[in-house]
Symmetry: C2
Subunit: 170 residues, 2 copies
């Protein structure tokens, strides 16, 4: 029993690259971004991405589409690996068109976006009623909203789940 605990612990450490709060320490090491920078940041250049959380909430409510928020970091290999799989997965890219999309490298001040902490990669869904879908989770019990590249099918089915809105219009 103790053994399985340890292996789960190691896995959790592996997938939670770095606490987003730690970005500050790495500011000086940061490499210059490729110009001009894109809103997609490589998560799907052909998709329409919102810029800010405020914009995303507004558009989600207004369009009655669920919001998908991807927290990631440029210098996190786990984020990069997930991004590659996400961008190359045709069905996911197609399904993503049905969402309001936002990818963030900086945390917002909204604690609702960190139900179990600030880590990356972390994917959350918000219903157009502006409810965080805390029930839509990945495979890791201590990092509920983390996904590894091998979890891409689970992410796809979670996207399908998110498209079933909590409150549908009458």
């Amino acid at each position: 029993m103790e053994k399985s605990y340890v292996s789960v612990f190691l896995l959790l450490v592996a997938i939670s690259c770095v606490l987003a709060k730690d970005i500050g320490k790495k500011e000086t090491k940061e490499t210059k971004p490729k110009l001009p920078q894109t809103l997609s940041r490589g998560w799907g250049d052909q998709l329409i991405w919102t810029q800010t959380y405020e914009e995303a909430l507004f558009r989600s409510k207004n369009s009655n589409k669920p919001l998908m928020i991807i927290h990631h970091l440029d210098d996190c290999p786990h984020s990069q690996a997930l991004k590659k799989v996400f961008a190359e997965h045709k069905e996911i890219q197609k399904l993503a068109e049905k969402f309001i999309l936002l990818n963030l490298v900086y945390e917002t001040t909204d604690k609702n976006l960190a139900p179990d902490g600030q880590y990356v990669p972390r994917i959350l869904f918000i219903d157009p009623s502006l409810t965080v879908r805390a029930d839509i989770t990945g495979r890791y019990s201590n990092r509920l909203y983390a996904y590894e590249p091998s979890d891409i099918s689970l992410l796809y089915s979670n996207m399908q789940k998110a498209l079933k809105l909590l409150k549908t219009e009458l």
Copy 2:
């Protein structure tokens, strides 16, 4: 006296395209953005732009550079005209490198960014001590942070003013 009031009023109406709050009404008319979308949105593709207000505040404090926030709208001809002049003005583009830069089409929830209302185009400077430089204003008494293309020299000198930090490091 009454006459001059009227002309000032007309001018103010002319430069304040649309209240940012009204965006909602125009959502359905919106044209599809050019893909991939850039963070610069044409305000200077060779400059480094931050994505969100949180990121901008963090970077400003961290780098001790003032923050310049441009509120604008894609379908506002006054914003577009100012953008053209801003992007083509070599001295401004050069000086802009000394700032943390953010351009927004959606308002944040921070009321400090709308000292005299939510209108576009509207340019505000924030000191790295995270103080809004409400003293750095344009030419229009009722829209203090609005600039017309003909005000570009004033904007340039206001940028120079903003670079003189309120609190310099000892």
